[in-house]
């Protein structure tokens, strides 16, 4: 039972459910249970969505049905995420165990680096996404460098990225248990 390197599958599961530390048999068992419940919720919601779409097709236009489908898909997605997050935090599976002060400081520093990287990734992803959207709806006929350098967009997404980084840092810090 000594600590071994996690396989890719285990790393994906830990990342998906936000589990830190050992992925031992208790956590495995609880994750299986949460996953099964999430699947049942997903199955029922998708069934209801499919059933209601059949009726909506005869009542609404195709465009409206598509809009309803898009929003119900988002609703189902956030319902599942909400359930998984609540279940994981209720069972304290996302807790980070620090064994002494050195370990605590090491984990804090690790989370700081992780949050800086997360904020940077968030900024880059959002800038790429909004650059593409701006490019597609370029009614002011701006050039590509103008769209990239746009001070307003960069400042807004820069502040958002800092906010995301700081929020995540405090969330992680809260999860560390000495």
């Amino acid at each position: 039972m000594r600590k071994t390197k996690d396989s890719l599958y285990v790393r994906i599961i830990k990342h998906t459910y936000g589990i830190h530390g050992y992925f031992d048999e208790y956590k495995k068992q609880e994750v299986n249970r949460i996953g099964n419940n999430a699947f049942i919720i997903l199955f029922i919601l998708f069934f209801l969505q499919m059933f209601s779409t059949v009726f909506l097709v005869s009542l609404l236009d195709a465009d409206d049905v598509l809009t309803v489908l898009l929003f119900t898909d988002l609703l189902i997605f956030f319902t599942i995420i909400f359930y998984v997050n609540i279940a994981v935090s209720r069972l304290k599976l996302d807790q980070v165990e620090a064994y002494d002060n050195n370990d605590y400081n090491f984990k804090i520093n690790k989370f700081k680096r992780k949050c800086i990287l997360m904020a940077f990734n968030f900024f880059i992803c959002e800038r790429i996404l909004f650059f593409i959207l701006d490019l597609l709806s370029n009614d002011k006929h701006l050039t590509i460098p103008q769209l990239i350098i746009s001070p307003r967009e960069n400042i807004v997404w820069g502040i958002s990225a800092i906010f995301v980084g700081i929020t995540n840092y405090f969330v992680y810090k809260h999860k560390i248990k000495k």
Binding site: M1, R2, K3, G21, Y22, D24, E25, Y26, K27, K92, Q95, E97, Y99
Partner: protein, 63 residues
């Protein structure tokens, strides 16, 4: 399931974190086992017994 894991761990001057590290489980899981709120697999019982230099009978049998 009641057990004597905590009793034997304390008698050996081991902290929860030390035993958890030795066995390769989280402190949370060990705490649940000690409280009898989680039934470990036979494999994990054997690992705990080995880490405590004890045996399954003394730890888990008819407590």
């Amino acid at each position: 399931m009641n057990n004597k894991v905590k009793l034997i761990r304390v008698s050996k001057n081991l902290q929860q974190k030390d035993l958890a590290l030795k066995v390769g489980i989280s402190r949370q899981t060990l705490s649940l086992i000690e409280k009898g709120r989680y039934n470990p697999s036979l494999k994990l019982c054997v690992s705990i017994a080995e880490a405590l230099d004890s045996d399954l009978n003394s730890l888990f049998w008819k407590v």
